[in-house]
């Protein structure tokens, strides 16, 4: 009895394995060239499967025909499976597309706010004269979601005291970066809650 059960068990395991292999190969493949824009692939899929744009209508039609013949029923089921599986992949594709768009929008927002902050600091920073050496100093800023500067510290001072002093003087002139108010809270927390300002003197006579 045990032997029978073991052999049955083995048989089902093999069957499960084979079905898994089969199901893997039965998924349609999307050959998306990484160098290509995902939009192109999405467009191609739309061209190939116009039906995808009206899935409820297609489903209704299939259901009516299913009542007539079992042969047709089988065919329809197969089509449906195919459509659904394709639809699933396209949903993933759309999701990717949305993520990409969202990411590019986030990037755009970060760049926009960064550029404004850069411009505002530049307009008040009175850079010391005659610096023929290359200098770099880093300031860590801690912002409230309202844009208020909660704290700042010169975490990496340069070797030149006047250069450092000029930075601290400029930072003391700033109280708010209200530009961050236009950002989504999640984006603010991720990028602007704490950020660095890197002050540089090119080492050229300026």
């Amino acid at each position: 009895m045990n032997k029978v059960l073991t052999s049955l068990n083995t048989f089902f395991l093999i069957l499960l394995f084979l079905s898994l292999i089969f199901s893997m190969f039965s998924f349609p493949k999307l050959n998306i060239d990484e160098t290509q824009s995902i939009k192109v692939n999405f467009y191609e899929l739309i061209q190939q499967n116009d039906i995808l744009f009206d899935p409820p209508a297609a489903n209704t039609l299939i259901k009516k025909e299913a009542k007539k013949t079992s042969a047709i029923n089988e065919k329809t089921n197969a089509d449906e499976t195919s459509i659904i599986s394709k639809f699933k992949i396209n949903k993933l594709d759309i999701k990717n597309e949305i993520t990409k768009i969202k990411l590019s929008k986030e990037r755009e927002d970060i760049l926009r706010v960064s550029a404004i902050i850069q411009q505002r600091i530049s307009s008040i920073w009175i850079k010391p004269n005659s610096l023929s050496e290359s200098l770099i100093a880093k300031v860590l800023i801690n912002l409230a979601p309202s844009g208020e500067i909660l704290n700042f510290s010169l975490i990496e001072p340069s070797s030149n005291t006047s250069f450092n002093e000029s930075i601290l003087t400029a930072m003391n002139k700033m109280t708010f970066f209200e530009e961050v108010l236009s950002l989504e809270r999640k984006l603010f927390e991720k990028n602007f809650r704490n950020f660095n300002l890197v002050f540089k003197s090119s080492g050229e006579i300026e």
Binding site: W125, F195, L197
Partner: protein, 427 residues
């Protein structure tokens, strides 16, 4: 699995450790705004010394256009001690720094005791505090000392308000005067007057002597004049003409141009043993030498390539190097006090402008926008260049800060002013 874990680690570490960095390269074109509050006088002091001192300090600090001031009638308060000082009174007026002070006492000998303070309004801290004692006859000198300290505190550079300028005035076609004055044009002294041209003045490092070229005997001849006694001595160098003297940083020798049979070359002249050592030997014209701050090199102008260009020569190995290649006229080169850059006259399409070049860079940058600039000289703190230029036929001295924010002209003299030479700092 290992691959997966390493990717995960990279992702997590990126999330944990990456922080947005915004680079700030450009500074503001605005100037720092300074409030020079009239100094107070302790009760019982009759003369208003305080006001004279603060006015002098303000005049000094504004001399080269490096700062903006707040008019006295716009001030909300007139504190003379820290107890009366409120940052908000200055913050609302957009002031960056405030200078306050007081004349505390005058003793029987006429010596004033003055205290002063400098505040950084944006940082809300006192950044300088001092006391000075000096005679009431030397109020201008006292003001210069205080101005130097304030300037140094704000800019990080040595103050230059007690430096001097040597220059040549050509008052009419036949009169040349060798003059020196304070950097603000005051206390002018005429050292020597001649009917023949005078040129190329240069200060000894101790500020006690001036070397210059005079044609009084028909040929270019180098004289050294003692400023205390007024005595002048001609350098008895060999050759037909001697010109363009420049003191070495240690004051022991001069770099100069000696011309044997019409071919000028660069020589070193030892002042103590009057020995002449040849540095260049070329059929082209070598002229306008100047020492590097470490005395190891000399920059000079030569037309050996077909047009005037700047070259550098090692005083020991005598190895030469061409420094300029842009345009067909680059002359009168001088090193910056840090020795890393040079400034010179750059000619382009008939315009002659003051240019600068970092020795480690290929590129030159023109500083001035006038068209007939010559004889540039740099402040000993390396921040300002004064040069001779022309307005029609009249020569005057123009100046520019190296960041280009401030351009100015020095007070007009009675005649054309040429050949400025900025004195070294008093140690």
């Amino acid at each position: 699995m290992i691959r997966f874990l390493s990717i995960l680690f990279i992702l997590v570490s990126n999330t944990i450790f990456s922080i947005l960095e915004i680079e700030i390269l450009k500074g503001s074109d605005n100037l720092s705004k300074v409030a020079f509050v009239p100094f107070g006088n302790e009760s019982g002091i009759e003369e208003n010394y305080g006001s004279q001192i603060s006015k002098n300090i303000e005049k000094n600090m504004l001399l080269f256009g490096e700062f903006e001031n707040l008019a006295v009638n716009e001030m909300l308060s007139y504190p003379s001690s820290e107890n009366d000082f409120y940052y908000r009174d200055w913050k609302v007026l957009g002031v960056d720094y405030s200078v306050i002070g007081k004349v505390n006492s005058v003793n029987a000998l006429g010596n004033l005791n003055i205290s002063y303070s400098l505040f950084n309004i944006n940082r809300r801290i006192k950044i300088l505090e001092g006391e000075i004692v000096g005679s009431e006859d030397n109020i201008e000198d006292i003001s210069k000392i205080i101005s130097n300290r304030i300037y140094e505190q704000i800019t990080g550079l040595r103050g230059i308000f007690d430096t001097k300028l040597a220059y040549v005035i050509n008052s009419d076609a036949d009169t040349y005067q060798m003059c020196i004055s304070d950097i603000d044009g005051k206390n002018e002294q005429i050292l020597f007057t001649s009917k023949a041209p005078i040129m190329s003045p240069d200060w000894s490092p101790d500020r006690k002597k001036i070397a210059y070229v005079s044609f009084e005997n028909g040929l270019a001849e180098i004289f050294i004049q003692d400023l205390q006694s007024g005595e002048r001595d001609s350098i008895q160098a060999l050759g037909m003409t001697n010109s363009a003297p420049v003191w070495s940083p240690d004051g022991k020798s001069l770099a100069l141009v000696v011309s044997f049979s019409g071919n000028p070359d660069i020589f070193l002249y030892s002042i103590r043993n009057k020995r002449l050592v040849r540095l260049t030997n070329h059929y082209g014209i070598d002229t306008e030498p100047s020492w590097s701050p470490d005395s190891k090199k000399i920059i000079f102008t030569s037309d050996r390539s077909g047009s005037p260009q700047l070259y550098e020569i090692s005083t020991k190995s005598k190895r030469k190097k061409r420094l300029t290649r842009d345009g067909n006229y680059n002359a009168r080169g001088r090193y910056f006090p840090d020795g890393k850059s040079i400034f010179f006259v750059h000619g382009n399409n008939g315009n002659f402008q003051i240019a600068i070049k970092k020795l480690s860079s290929r590129y030159i940058e023109t500083l001035t926008s006038t068209s007939l600039d010559e004889s540039p000289t740099i402040s000993p703190n390396g921040n300002i260049i004064i040069y001779a230029t022309k307005d029609g036929s009249n020569g005057y001295l123009g100046g520019i800060t190296l960041d280009g924010k401030a351009r100015f002209s020095l007070p007009v003299k009675n005649g054309s002013v040429r050949e400025p030479a900025w004195s070294p700092l008093l140690n």
